[in-house]
């Protein structure tokens, strides 16, 4: 054995003894032809595989492969022609059944034939590049049976008819459909597509076009969408049961186009049931369905988003320009928050938190909130209300929730510097009157503002808190030092405010009563003793006082009043009746403030510790005031102060506006200088753009104002105009 192994490797064919017979090929072929007949006639049992295999093997080996192959083709073709006729003969419903049965039989026959002709399949066929047996079987079936004109048209018609019947609710034989469908696929993707799928899609498009037309006339939006969804799901299910998976996306495209895309606008705008109605009535399910369906078609969501956006903008605009609503700022802001909550809920539960919708909502809010120039003031008033009383007894988490929501609205403001101004004013009042519900909540909000706008925004606010704390320490030191002397005088509590941090107040005149004056001097001396180089001035328009008063029948009450009111009331210690002038002179309080203060003392029911003659609502120079002996109140402590923050009157509003405008000028100039220093040379439009970009986190600068500032800077020789181009500016170092 080993010796033979070393020989050069050659293999001789295992050929069988073959009688040299000229008719050899013909005889052998006949045996095989007969076998093929028997196989097709279901008579194959009893045939010897080995014999047939051997004969085919020998034919190929002895170079008769061509004869074998062409014989095979001829034989199969004639059998298939007979099969085709028998299928054509089948009546009505039995056609599909017959086709399916014959197909199964053909596949079985193919397998048997291929097995016995395997040697040819593996040697002769690859060599001559002929179609392998299995594929040959498929091709012949396709050409002779499926594409015979009678079978082809009938097959297509029956398949489509079945689909139509199923769509109208009838039950069909899905198993049979699946087998036929699979057969078409086995014959080749182009067969499935050309013989079935193409027509299926066309017919379906027609079907859905008609059906959608019918539905849209008879259903409201919600119902229509339900039907569309149902049809879509049906088609998907149909494909999964008896069509090729690749058909799914094609048929769903058809349904989407016919049922949704073609009627998009009509659905969204449908009166009484369209998108806007769904939003108003909070129909989350319907909205969710609309979102899912419209998402499937090009520009579907764009349409929904646009309609929603214009609705929000319109209703928002109405809200901010409605004079009724604007009467109560706190209610107004609450309304905005409720609105935001409503839309947030819609976007989360129905629009699957789609970012583009969130963005559209944000831009809409930004748009309409800034239509009303008093939005910043109102938001500050809302916060003021909450921090004064609204958040009393609320848990820490809920406080955070409310503040976060407020921050959300704050972000929409374009004029954040206006908000800052009001917030400072309102905070000052809260701090000085000691009327804040929770210092933690105050600080928490400051932190949020700092995170949002940076350190600059909140540094002064924080300074206010610091002043309050420092004042407490100062008072402790003062009592410790002067404890004995001041024990039997009025109790003094002083807050020392650093000028830069607190809202600027005009200096007003006010003569304090003698009892107070002495105490105040003592404090002033104490303070200046420990802090040299500082100047103190009493802010009489911001103080409060608690007075113990005894009335006619001996009722004692503690009155909480403003400093001005205290000065006025103390005068009544020495007289029961005083004219307006007699009050104005000694106190020297400015007229408008005095009138307001007298009004709250004499004209408010339940708080009228003074009586006025005549009993009119307004204060006139000629009025007389009397101590109201008959004053009664349920409470021991009566609050009469006018220190709470209120919505500004028109003239006050104008004034604040002006101050804001003044403050903006230097900010704009600083921005211009910064930019020009970096860029050296820049044209007008670009400067405006850059300045806007730099300042937009605080406010939106007016291009006209920017222009004026540039001119002012040119005058002050920070910049110069280019000699050649008037639109170009240069930085002057």
């Amino acid at each position: 054995m080993s010796a033979q192994k070393k020989k050069a490797f050659q293999i001789e064919a295992f050929k069988h003894r073959v009688v040299v017979d000229p008719k050899y090929a013909e005889k052998t072929w006949k045996i095989l032809e007969h076998a093929i007949h028997e196989i097709y006639n279901h008579n194959a049992s009893g045939l010897s595989f080995e014999e047939l295999y051997r004969n085919a093997y020998n034919m190929v080996l002895h170079k008769f492969g061509e004869k074998l192959y062409s014989g095979l083709v001829t034989t199969m073709t004639s059998h298939l022609k007979a099969i085709s006729s028998s299928i054509e003969a089948a009546q009505g419903g039995l056609f599909l059944d017959e086709l399916n049965r014959k197909w199964a039989e053909h596949n079985k026959a193919m397998q048997m034939i291929r097995d016995i002709l395997m040697y040819m399949d593996r040697t002769f066929i690859p060599n001559t590049h002929k179609t392998p047996v299995h594929e040959l079987g498929l091709n012949l079936w396709r050409d002779v049976v499926i594409h015979s004109s009678a079978v082809q048209t009938r097959l297509q018609a029956i398949l489509l008819e079945n689909v139509r019947r199923e769509r109208s609710g009838e039950v069909i034989d899905r198993g049979l459909m699946r087998s036929i469908s699979k057969m078409l696929m086995d014959l080749g993707p182009s067969v499935y597509q050309d013989d079935f799928e193409k027509h299926f899609l066309e017919v379906s498009a027609d079907f859905y076009r008609l059906e959608s037309q019918d539905f849209i006339e008879s259903c409201d939006c919600g119902e229509y969408l339900k039907k569309a969804e149902r049809r879509l799901n049906e088609e998907i299910e149909r494909v999964s049961h008896y069509l090729d998976a690749k058909s799914e996306v094609k048929i769903t495209n058809v349904v989407e186009k016919e049922m949704i895309e073609n009627h998009m606008h009509r659905l969204v705008q449908m009166e009484n049931s369209g998108l806007v109605n769904m939003i108003v009535d909070e129909k989350y399910e319907d909205l969710g369905r609309m979102y899912c369906l419209f998402r499937r078609v090009p520009n579907g969501l764009v349409l929904v988003r646009d309609v929603m956006t214009s609705y929000i903008r319109d209703t928002g605009k109405q809200l901010v320009t409605d004079p009724e609503r604007l009467k109560d700022p706190v209610d107004f802001v609450q309304h905005l928050l409720d609105l935001k909550d409503k839309y947030d809920k819609i976007i989360t539960s129905a629009f699957s938190n789609d970012k583009t919708f969130q963005n559209a909502l944000n831009s809409s809010f930004e748009y309409f909130m800034n239509l009303n120039s008093r939005s910043p003031e109102f938001i500050s008033l809302f916060v003021d209300d909450k921090l004064r009383k609204g958040l009393r007894g609320v848990t820490e988490e809920d406080v955070e929730l409310v503040l976060d929501k407020v921050m959300m609205l704050f972000r929409y403001l374009q004029e954040k510097d206006v908000f800052e101004k009001y917030y400072k004013q309102h905070l000052a009042k809260r701090l000085l009157s000691g009327k804040t519900v929770s210092e933690d909540a105050e600080r928490s909000l400051i932190v949020k503002l700092k995170t949002e706008c940076g350190y600059q925004f909140t540094s002064k606010l924080e300074g206010m808190f610091t002043d309050m704390k420092t004042s407490q320490d100062t008072m402790q030191g003062f009592s410790a030092r002067h404890g004995a002397d001041i024990a039997d005088g009025p109790m003094l509590s002083v807050q020392v405010l650093t000028t830069g941090s607190w809202p600027t107040q005009p200096i007003t005149t006010c003569n304090l009563p003698a009892e107070i004056r002495g105490m105040c001097e003592k404090f002033r001396n104490y303070y200046l003793g420990t802090h040299t180089g500082r100047r103190l001035s009493w802010q009489t328009n911001m103080g409060t006082a608690d007075l113990k008063a005894t009335f006619g029948k001996g009722q004692k009450h503690e009155l909480n009043v403003s400093t001005y009111q205290m000065c006025v009331l103390m005068l009544f210690n020495n007289a029961d009746r005083l004219s307006y002038k007699e009050i104005e002179q000694p106190t020297e309080i400015p007229a408008s403030d005095l009138k307001r203060c007298l009004q709250s003392l004499a004209c408010v029911k339940g708080k009228n510790v003074l009586r006025k003659e005549p009993m009119s609502k307004d204060i006139a120079d000629t009025d007389t005031f009397l101590f109201n002996d008959k004053f009664t109140s349920k409470f021991f402590k009566v609050k009469i102060g006018t220190v709470a923050a209120q919505r500004e009157s028109e003239p006050e509003n104008q004034e604040t506006r002006q101050r804001v405008e003044e403050d903006r000028k230097p900010q704009i100039e600083a921005a211009i200088v910064r930019i020009m220093k970096a860029r050296r040379v820049l044209d007008h439009n670009n400067i405006v753009a850059e300045v806007t970009k730099q300042l937009q986190s605080r406010f939106l600068p007016n291009p006209v104002v920017i222009k004026k500032r540039i001119e002012s800077l040119i005058e002050r020789e920070f910049l110069e105009r280019d000699k050649g181009d008037r639109k170009l500016y240069r930085y002057l170092a």
Binding site: I11, A13, R17, G46, E50
Partner: protein, 126 residues
């Protein structure tokens, strides 16, 4: 060995070899004979007759079947010609003087195994 698990191979002289079906189906041809649908005689009766293969050769082929099964159990075999040759050599050497009993060259036998019985994936063409 149970009857259902076995198959009878009959040589040209009529000598019968009863072997496990699993072993016999190492040959793709025999596998097809036994599993092809349609009720061929071989599958019906579990008997395959080889009028062209004599007993001496058929015996070695059967031995090869078992060698192949044993060797490939749990291992990756490459089904290549060299594997067949190795197996066949092993089997042939197990009987001293086997070659002298051979009618025709060893290589013809190999061709029979490989091409006719489809024992390996590699078909050698003539």
């Amino acid at each position: 060995m149970k009857k259902e698990d076995t198959v009878k191979l009959i040589s040209s002289e009529g000598m019968e070899f009863v072997i496990d079906k699993e072993a016999a189906m190492v040959s793709q041809t025999i596998r097809n004979m036994l599993t092809s649908p349609g009720g061929f005689a071989e599958a019906e009766h579990g008997v395959v007759t080889f009028p062209e293969i004599n007993a001496v050769i058929l015996e070695k082929i059967c031995q090869y079947f078992y060698w192949s099964l044993q060797y490939s159990r749990g291992k990756e075999t490459d089904d290549s010609l060299s594997f067949v040759i190795r197996g066949f050599s092993f089997v042939a050497e197990s009987t001293p003087d086997w070659c002298s009993c051979l009618r025709g060259s060893v290589y013809v036998v190999l061709h029979c195994m490989v091409a006719y019985l489809q024992i390996s994936c590699v078909i050698v063409l003539t």
